[in-house]
Symmetry: C2
Subunit: 478 residues, 2 copies
């Protein structure tokens, strides 16, 4: 128990300092390390295994909709980046420039991709000729670079891992349908696999992607009441297609511009998981992406037959879950604390008295509830508990969001709430950027999302008072 | 048939111009495309799906030996790259340098990783304290950059995808064991999954990796008789450990330097597959990595019931193989040529008469042999044929290697063979770099490999005549 105490004391409590708690967890759970490369992170085996699970699950969801993976060069010539005006204005200030190859200066600078619209467009212009070539549904998994000034592990770093989907369509309707379909894929992944409830909606023009006609977002609320943009899906219309001359010969024998989308999620997701589900004992991982879903810990393992029986149970469990057994010399208390820190969803304890009674103890990481089950029921109880944990995580996070969502109709009260509470503030907005900027100045919040289900009801703009049916969720964000 | 002719005529024959045949195949089989990023390639969906299969199979083989995946930053500060003398001398001439972030010049240049020994070493120095922390068996899948002057798709490009394993061990023996174990993993993968026979052996010091004590290689012989280094595994000894101060406290309570290995394979493997198995109809893919293992082609598909029955067969086949059905309007002849170009291992043809006779026709891509089988036997015949194709590919490649391996004991004859034949030349060598360089000048060959099984027999150095038991395979290489 001394050991257990020691482990738990190593991390700052969430209530005391949420930012420090976060940094403690990513370090103590062995997710990342720092290096001499400023602003970049090393993703350690435990962190990377989470990312591999995220990749596997999302990739399968993408492929089910017909998406194919490709790989584009990591460099973009300056002239290519400059081809779409809004896009280059959005990204040029934060790209890394390669100027030399070996000892030779390059004739044209190359930026390390901050995103790859321009490369995909150049390629699509090359390979799309006819309506028969459409749609093209490409995606790539890669790393991208944005020269950020202040960085935090998973949330904002100069290099991060992500996927970027880039699709081309014959009509504006097809492109809009794809944009929303992929937003739905993200929402389902967050809610079903990660147990993270999200708001699905549109971004205001001020917050949309550089070069997009419309940006949609899945927005999650962290434990501390700050919002996190979980994934975005953009409809580009034919803006890039015109800049890159991407045309197809339609059935009616006329040349038409293609309509385009892009959509992406990144290793930020890991930050969202930590800050949605974590607690003062450390990580709490949703079973779908947990590198280890269940850890078997023998109790009084020096007693004859305990390790053997625990190993037998471990082998059975391995057929139904990603399992691990710890027969090291560390005390059970140390092990409990260690695997709680690592967020392993289920712990299976088994000792001499359990063996005698043909039973074991299952402890849920999310609620710390214990359940004694018969060894005969392992194969049914464990999958059921894992599914229940995901549901429990979802409900707890949804409850937190509900508790932290405030509705305001008067500016003074809005400002007061923004000052004293942390969460979403629902308020009507007239649609003009001026009011949006003013609200940022007065209340230090940004527009997070205009949720699909909550538009169309009449109200007054929280800033200027004009009648409007646009409802915005405002907040502070990671 | 007109279409089929047209397709096949599109590629240059191997005998006429092997280099042009290769370029034709990578383009016509839709593996890659070029972009405005000089020296880099776009890996298209069909090419990338091959790489995904290679990754999946190799990654499983790595993990079985205890390897864990991580992700390191893509940048290396100049001072970090400079820490190991031999290493920086080997790589500095061919790295890309980032000098600016946004509009600001960096205080220290960063190179885009050509390989990541230095980053792994810095991290290992940070996390390894005790003998209990060893071994550390890390790998990463990523892209690396080497500023090559002349490039060819998959074989040599400025950016390529690879995996790089970096491991740390307590003793020299453990490191040597790991180096050879991973070489064995590569050899098994090439031979069992890709049907490519390889020579397993050691590189001469002249050809070893910058900073390594010993480099081992799996070397494959292409259809044209040129060699290709398929994968390498390096034993670094404690050279980097000393440069980076990577020490552990041993059981005897003394501080000791770690011993290190690294090993890697890249998208070059795709080049090796093309040039080992391909023919004048295009790609020939080994089933293990083929994105589609079997394509179902209905014949006389306008006749009633044909598409329905073909679809039924396709659905059955999908349970045992990665399958595809083509019910497009293109003629069967066009489809045959198209999927031969794509190298799909098996074609299943089914028409009205087959349906009547409860049968279908299976055509092997490697031999073009046809086999009529009962529809009742699909589930047994197809997996057996796929396995047989891998074996057939292996045997054919092994035969080619045997036919193209020459043994020489006199310098004049060696030079004559090097001039007139294309393949491996087996010859003894005294072990000194001078003779190696001289042979390069006289016969334009490099040392490829000193195969494990062929050392220890006495002979005379092919250049200086000194007695030696070192046997080298010499040749021209990609």
């Amino acid at each position: 128990m001394a050991n257990e105490k020691k482990m738990v004391e190593q991390i700052t409590s969430m209530e005391e300092d949420f930012a420090k708690w976060y940094t403690d967890v990513v370090k103590k759970a062995d997710l990342i390390d720092y290096s001499s490369v400023k602003g970049c992170m090393i993703i350690r085996p435990y962190g990377y295994a989470i990312w591999e699970n995220i990749q596997r699950l999302l990739d399968a969801r993408f492929k089910k909709t017909g998406v194919e993976n490709v790989y584009m060069p990591m460099f973009i010539p300056e002239s290519l980046l400059n081809k779409e005006k809004d896009h280059v204005e959005g990204f040029a200030p934060e790209v890394a420039w390669v100027t030399h190859g070996g000892s030779e200066p390059l004739t044209e600078r190359l930026c390390v991709r901050p995103t790859s619209e321009t490369l995909f467009c150049e390629h699509y212009a090359n390979i799309i000729k006819s309506y028969r070539d459409l749609p093209k549904l490409y995606n790539q998994w890669c790393s991208v670079v944005r020269w950020e000034k202040t960085t935090r592990p998973f949330l904002r770093s100069r290099e991060f891992l992500w996927q970027e989907g880039h699709t081309m369509h014959a009509t504006a309707e097809d492109a809009e349908k794809e944009t929303l379909q992929m937003l739905g894929v993200y929402a389902d992944f967050f809610e079903e696999d990660l147990g993270i409830p999200v708001l699905k909606g549109r971004k205001t023009d001020k917050e949309k992607f550089a070069g997009a006609e419309a940006t949609y977002t899945v927005e999650a609320l962290m434990h501390d009441g700050k919002a996190l943009q979980g994934g975005t899906s953009h409809n580009f219309g034919d803006g890039f297609a015109k800049a890159f001359d991407i045309k197809y010969l339609d059935k009616d024998n006329t040349l038409k511009y293609c309509h385009q989308t892009s959509w992406g999620v990144s290793t930020r997701i890991i930050g969202a998981i930590i800050m949605t589900h974590g607690d003062d004992r450390g990580l709490v991982l949703p079973p779908a992406i947990a590198p280890v879903q269940l850890v078997v810990i023998p109790c009084a393992q020096h007693k004859p037959g305990v390790i053997e029986k625990a190993t037998e149970v471990y082998e059975r469990v391995s057929n139904i879950a990603r399992a691990k057994i710890d027969v090291s010399d560390n005390s059970p208390g140390w092990k409990y604390a260690e695997y709680e820190m690592k967020g392993i969803p289920l712990r299976l304890e088994i000792g001499p008295r359990d063996i005698e009674a043909n039973q074991c103890v299952l402890v849920r990481r999310d609620t710390l509830e214990k359940k004694v089950i018969s060894l005969d029921d392992i194969e049914t109880e464990i999958p059921a508990l894992l599914a229940d944990i995901t549901k429990g995580l979802y409900n707890k996070a949804a409850q937190n969001r509900m508790n932290r969502t405030y509705t305001e109709t008067e500016l003074d009260s809005f400002i007061e709430t923004a000052k004293t509470k942390s969460g979403y503030i629902r308020a009507h907005w007239c649609g003009c950027e001026e009011c949006e900027i003013k609200l940022k100045e007065l209340a230090d919040v940004t527009s997070r999302c205009m949720p699909f289900g909550e538009q169309g009801e009449q109200g007054k703009c929280i800033v200027c008072g004009k009648p409007t049916d646009k409802l915005v969720y405002w907040g502070k964000a990671y």
